[in-house]
C-alpha cells in the first residue's frame, strides 16, 4: 500500500498540538522543510527533541510552536550561538531538558528497542545528573558497581529525511547516519521525506543499505532539497552562507519574524522555497558525482 502523500497532508495528519516531535539527523539530513510546514500549519505546545536543535528548532521556537526543548548540544553548528533557543531559555520562556549526546541517544535506543531503560558507564561528572531526574543509578548485580541508566524516549512523531525511499517507506540512507534509525523505531508515528522516490526494485537491489523498513512509516513525502540549508550526502552541500546569515537575522525578533514571513508563511511549500532561493544558490550547493563500487549479492 503506497504511503505517498504531500508534506502538507502528512503534517496535517500526523503532527498535533502538544506532541513530542523528534526531527532526526545529526547535522546532516536535517528535515528543515518539515519544520517549515509545521510552522506554516501553526502547531503549538510542541516538545521538540533533537541532539542538536540546530537552526530548525531555532526557527520553530521563534515561530511559537514549542513549549519545551530536549537537547544535548545547543549551537549554530560551526558558527556560534543558537540565539533564539538560548535567549528563550535565559528569559524563562521555554522549558528544557538536557542530556549529553550519548545519554540522549541512549534514551532513543531504549525507546527503539522496547526497553524500560538502558545503561551507561558512570562519567564522574556530577552536575547534569543532579538537575535531570532521568539520570538514575542501578547496582550491577554482577560486579556490585553502580551504573547510570536512562529511560526510553518514544516520540509521538519522528521526522526522518533520507536520500531514497520507495512508496512503501522502505528507506536508504548513506553518509552520516546519526540517530535516524533509532528515532524511527522509537516513535509512534513516522513521517519520512525523501530526496528521491525510487522503484521498490532499487531498494531491493541493495537490502543492506535499508535502514528503515516501510512498515514502521506512516507517510512518505517526496521533498527534494528538504534538508536545505543543511547537507544531504551525494545531493547538495550545506548553505553555509545561510548559517552565517542566520547568526545576524536571529539577533533581533524583527529580523526573525521578517524572515519567517518571507520564507515560510508567504510560501505554499518547499518547492516554492527552493525556487525562491534562486539559481545562484542552486548552483553553489551542487556537488559532483562520486559513486560507490557496486557489490555482488549473487543470484541465490
Amino acid at each position: 500500500m503506497s504511503k505517498l502523500c504531500s508534506l502538507k497532508e502528512a503534517v496535517a495528519e500526523y503532527v498535533s498540538d502538544g506532541d513530542l516531535v523528534y526531527a532526526a539527523g545529526f547535522t546532516h539530513l536535517i528535515p528543515f522543510a518539515v519544520g517549515h510546514e509545521i510552522i506554516r500549519q501553526g502547531r503549538r505546545d510542541l516538545t521538540l527533541a533533537r541532539a542538536t536543535p540546530d537552526l530548525i528548532y531555532d526557527q520553530m521556537v521563534a515561530a511559537g510552536c514549542a513549549r519545551k526543548i530536549i537537547f544535548s548540544y545547543l549551537g549554530n553548528p560551526g558558527v556560534g550561538s543558537l540565539r533564539i533557543v538560548r535567549s528563550a531559555i535565559e528569559a524563562g520562556e521555554l522549558e528544557w531538558e538536557e542530556y549529553s549526546h550519548y545519554s540522549m541517544i541512549t534514551r532513543l535506543s531504549a525507546g527503539a528497542s522496547g526497553l524500560p531503560f538502558m545503561p551507561m558507564n558512570l562519567t564522574a561528572a556530577p552536575d547534569l545528573e543532579k538537575v535531570n531526574p532521568n539520570f538514575r543509578r542501578v547496582t550491577d548485580p554482577f560486579t556490585g558497581k553502580e551504573v547510570m541508566v536512562v529511560p526510553p524516549i518514544n516520540p509521538d512523531v519522528a521526522v526522518v529525511h533520507v536520500q531514497r525511499a520507495d512508496k512503501f517507506g522502505n528507506a536508504q540512507i548513506w553518509g552520516i547516519l546519526g540517530e535516524q534509525k533509532e528515532a524511527a523505531f522509537a516513535a509512534k508515528k513516522v513521517i519520512l521525506t525523501a530526496e528521491e522516490i525510487v522503484e521498490e526494485t532499487v531498494i531491493r537491489s541493495d537490502p543492506n543499505r535499508t535502514l528503515i523498513p516501510g512498515f514502521i512509516v506512516d507517510a512518505v513525502c517526496h521533498v527534494p532539497y528538504c534538508a536545505h540549508p543543511s547537507y544531504t550526502q551525494g545531493y547538495y552541500d550545506r548553505d553555509n552562507t545561510f548559517y552565517l546569515q542566520w547568526d545576524e537575522i536571529s539577533k533581533t525578533t524583527e529580523g526573525v519574524l521578517q524572515w519567517l514571513q518571507e520564507y515560510v508563511y508567504d510560501l505554499q511549500d518547499h518547492a516554492q522555497y527552493w525556487q525562491k532561493l534562486g539559481e545562484e544558490t542552486h548552483q553553489r550547493l551542487k556537488v559532483k558525482e562520486k559513486l560507490s563500487s557496486p557489490i555482488n549479492y549473487g543470484e541465490f
Binding site: 545547543l74 549551537g75 541517544i105 561528572a125 538537575v131 552520516i176
Partner: protein, 255 residues
C-alpha cells in the same frame, strides 16, 4: 607577546598537535582540534586516526569541515557508523586514545563547564551544553583542552561541572572508577598547564615571549608552577606552511 608570523590560535594548534602521538585514535571536533590532528598527521603522526562523533572513522576531509556533520568527512572515509555506535563501540569500549574538550570555564582541578554561567535553573548565560564531552572526558584515555587564556575562563571552581577533570583532586576521580585518565594538558595562547600529582593544574611551559606573571594575571586562582618549567618552541616554518597553505588557506580558524 607573539611573533607576528603566527596567530594565538596557531600557537595553540601547533602545541596541541605536538602532544598527539603516532597511531593515536583521536575523537575529533571541528575547528581547532581538527586542524591540530591534521597537522600532526602531516608531520610526526602519519598513522593518527580521526574519529568524529557523528560516526565517521578514518576521515580524510578534502576541505575544512563546516560542521561535525559535514559530508566531506564521509567521502573517502574508512567507515561510518551510527551515533550510538561511535559512543558505545568506540568511546565507551575504550578504543579512543585521545579526546579534545572545550568549555567556557576550566577550573583549578581541570573540571569543565560548557553548560551555564550562573544558576542552572536561571542561567546568566546559557552555554551549548555537553554534546559529546561528558563521556569523552570520562572514557577517552587522554584528553586535551585548547582555550584562550582569560581570567573569566579560569575560575577557581566551575559554576557547573559538565565534564569531569579531577573533581576535588585526582583521588576523587580515581575513586569514581572511570576508565579514562582525564585531562593531560590545557594549551592556551600563553602557556601549557598540566595536572600535578593531585590533579591540580600547574604551568609546565610558557610560550615564547610570555612571562609567568601574564599567566597568573589571566588565571582566577593562585596558579602553581612546575619545578621544571619549560619554554615551548615557536611554530616551525613547516608547521605554519601546512596550516596556512594546506589546511586553512582562507584562514577561517587560524586567524
Amino acid at each position: 607577546m607573539s611573533n607576528p608570523t603566527y596567530s594565538k590560535t596557531e600557537l595553540m594548534i601547533v602545541n596541541a598537535a605536538r602532544l598527539l602521538q603516532d597511531g593515536d585514535l583521536v575523537f575529533v571536533g571541528v575547528g581547532a582540534p581538527n586542524l591540530a590532528c591534521n597537522l600532526a598527521r602531516r608531520t610526526h603522526a602519519p598513522n593518527l586516526m580521526m574519529v568524529y562523533e557523528a560516526g565517521v572513522i578514518g576521515a580524510q576531509p578534502a576541505r575544512l569541515p563546516l560542521s561535525i556533520g559535514d559530508p566531506t568527512l564521509v567521502s573517502g572515509a574508512t567507515a561510518v557508523c551510527s551515533m550510538y555506535e561511535v559512543f558505545s563501540l568506540y568511546l565507551q569500549r575504550g578504543n579512543v586514545d585521545v579526546g579534545f574538550l572545550g568549555g567556557a570555564q576550566i577550573d583549578r582541578f581541570c573540571n569543565i563547564n560548557a553548560t551555564v554561567i550562573g544558576d542552572y535553573q536561571h542561567p546568566k548565560v546559557r552555554l551549548p551544553g555537553s554534546g559529546g564531552s561528558m563521556e569523552i572526558a570520562a572514557w577517552a584515555n587522554r584528553c586535551y583542552i585548547m582555550t584562550p587564556h582569560h581570567k573569566r575562563r579560569f575560575p577557581e571552581k566551575v559554576d557547573f561541572c559538565t565534564s569531569a577533570g579531577f573533581l576535588s583532586g585526582r583521588a576523587e576521580r580515581e575513586k569514581s572508577g572511570v576508565r579514562g585518565k582525564g585531562p593531560q594538558a590545557v594549551v592556551t595562547n600563553l602557556a601549557i598547564m598540566k595536572p600535578d600529582i593531585n590533579g591540580e593544574l600547574e604551568v609546565t611551559a610558557l610560550h615564547p615571549g610570555v612571562e609567568l606573571n601574564e599567566v597568573q594575571e589571566n588565571t582566577g586562582w593562585q596558579i602553581k608552577v612546575s619545578s621544571q618549567l619549560e619554554r615551548t618552541l615557536p611554530p616551525t616554518e613547516e608547521e605554519l606552511h601546512i596550516l596556512h597553505v594546506e589546511l586553512d588557506p582562507t584562514g577561517i580558524y587560524v586567524n
